[in-house]
Amino acid sequence: MKTIKKITCIALVLLIAVSAVFAGGSSESSAKKTYKVGICQFVQHVALDSATQGFMDALKDALGDSVVFDNQNASGDMSTVTTIVNSLVSNKVDLILANATPPLQVAAAATGDIPILGTSVTDYETALDLKLNNGATGINISGASDLAPLDKQAQMIVELFPGVKNVGLLYCSAEPNSVYQINQMETYLMQMGIKSTRYAFTDSNDVASVTEAACKSADVLYIPTDNTAASCTEAIRNVIEPAKVPVVAGEEGICKGCGVATLTISYYDLGYTTGKMAVEVLKNGADISKMPIQYAANPIKKYNAELCSLLGVKIPSDYTAI
């Protein structure tokens, strides 16, 4: 009896193992094709949420009912990203949206066949350890970059604060996109002959103290599209307001919370652009490996009226109020 149990157990395990390797998601053979699109969003956050929403709307607008989403959020955990991507890949989805850098990298590692579109990723070359050719990756990956033109943002700082002596660059050292933007910003400011100093915090716990330090020596602060800063705008505002140090923000959410002005891109629009790329791949059979990375179109100059009046900042007429 014991032997039979043992044999049954082993047979069952082997059966599962074999089917695990060969099984996949169910394949549709009907005339009307339903597209399965998997989304892996790195963390809950206004900008990322908007991007996902924009992406889904674009697909729904173009494909209506024939698109089905599997939308997962990794809550900021790397190993959860791996689990989610594993789920999407093993179910053989038709396309994967990787919302932020870690999902993009994990998806890129997991599959060389399923088309992957990235969004809310600033620097594709570093993230994927490859060189772009005419803006395209040459493999199963493309996407949209949230890189707002940093040279224009540097110009914005000078435009609003012509006498600025030291620009404090405030960011989270753990965010690769922020580091990338700070590097660029530093270069652009230097080209314009303006001194800048870096102030990096490690996580939301030391945002306040690092901001304090920054306010002591800088007359203007710049915050890139930093996820951590975006979730701590209250804390930042509580420091810069009494210190009377204005903040130029990399995106609208941060500006609303603690900034005076921003050259903003709309994450919703970015997501929508990515969604349109997805439609090209799914419906029109475009070759993803040749699709160049798209950038945010039409950055808009915006300002925060309340903080501008509190800090006495004069805003030119071509800015829009948030």
Binding site: S75, T80, N86, S90, A109, D129, A174
Partner: protein, 302 residues
């Protein structure tokens, strides 16, 4: 929700579980054998990957990079050991201090970039999620089974040696160990070095598997490691008595943990609740022996 999609996702879950199983074995050595709660691992779990990936991107051979990753982990364990023994800092705090320092150090190793990808196309990686369904020696499940078996073999040999016995004695009864002429401080340091070296190995493997190293990839690692240890104690405690089998049980515990996570995902539950659910899973595993005991008592009194 069809069972086919769950089953097809199992190989990935198993591969990930086996890699974290290596890390859990490292945690087991300090937590159960040496009786030290070592929080260094949250930092070491990123250090190994950082060293391995950066070296490979700079042209180093895979095996050399892996070896250096292990050495880096051992240095981290050494630092914690020194904090604890030579500077009298309580073990938990010593681990936290090292983990804090490792954040900056990991960042520095990665050239002050918080995240660095490594492309499976360009480099010969030992394990990659790309191959999880391939039938052949590149399948990470296959590779990890061999790595785990080798690791268990080496550890089983080591802990049967005189010095291994001294380490076990230190964890079991420090007072008696000193009375037997064992330098317990040195044993603790050696234990921490071995444990963190193993965690760093897991980190290097995981970085290759997921195609990137991220400065935050170790965050919360100690929880996963402990969860695996606890799951294995509850499920296999009564049947695995041999040290080698206990280590195997820990590896299986990690695999079970990741299978459970995969099931949670498959059930369509909101992944925002994933952390809460993980905590519940561990809590239930911890409660099972307690409830069993109560049930037995109840049956007796009835």
């Amino acid at each position: 929700m069809n069972i086919g999609s769950l089953i097809s996702a199992l190989p990935g879950a198993i591969a990930q579980g086996l890699i974290w199983g290596v890390m859990a074995i490292g945690v087991y050595l300090t937590y159960k054998v040496l009786d030290i709660a070592d929080l260094t691992v949250d930092g070491t779990m990123a250090t190994g990957g950082a060293v391995c990936v950066m070296m490979m991107l700079n042209g180093a051979n895979l095996w050399v990079a892996l070896l250096c990753a292990v050495l880096a982990g051992m240095i981290a364990g050494l630092v914690t050991g020194i904090f604890h023994t030579a500077m009298g800092i309580p073990a938990i705090l010593a681990g936290i201090l090292t983990q804090l320092s490792l954040y900056s150090i990991n960042l520095a190793i990665m050239g002050f970039k918080a995240n660095q990808g490594i492309n499976v196309r360009n480099y010969h990686l030992l394990v990659s999620s790309r191959n999880v369904k391939v039938i052949g020696p590149q399948n990470p499940i296959f590779v990890m089974i061999i790595v785990t078996a080798l690791l268990i073999g080496v550890l089983y040999w080591f802990f049967g040696r005189e010095i291994g016995a001294a380490l076990r004695a230190t964890g079991s009864n420090e007072h008696m160990s000193r009375a037997q002429g064992i330098n317990v401080n040195r044993c603790k340091i050696i234990g921490l070095m071995i444990s963190n070296g193993i965690v760093a190995l897991a980190s290097a493997l995981f970085a290759q598997y997921q195609g990137a190293v991220d400065v935050n990839m170790g965050r919360g690692g100690i929880v996963i490691g402990l969860a695996a240890v606890i799951i294995s104690t509850v499920l296999f405690g009564k049947i695995f008595h041999n040290f080698a089998m206990k280590l195997l049980g820990v590896s299986l515990g990690a695999v079970i943990y990741y299978i459970v996570i995969q099931i949670v995902l498959w059930l369509g539950l909101n992944t925002n609740l994933l952390k809460l659910l993980s905590a519940l899973v561990v809590a239930i595993f911890l409660a099972i022996p307690y409830w069993k005991g109560k049930l037995a008592k109840g049956a007796k009194n009835a």
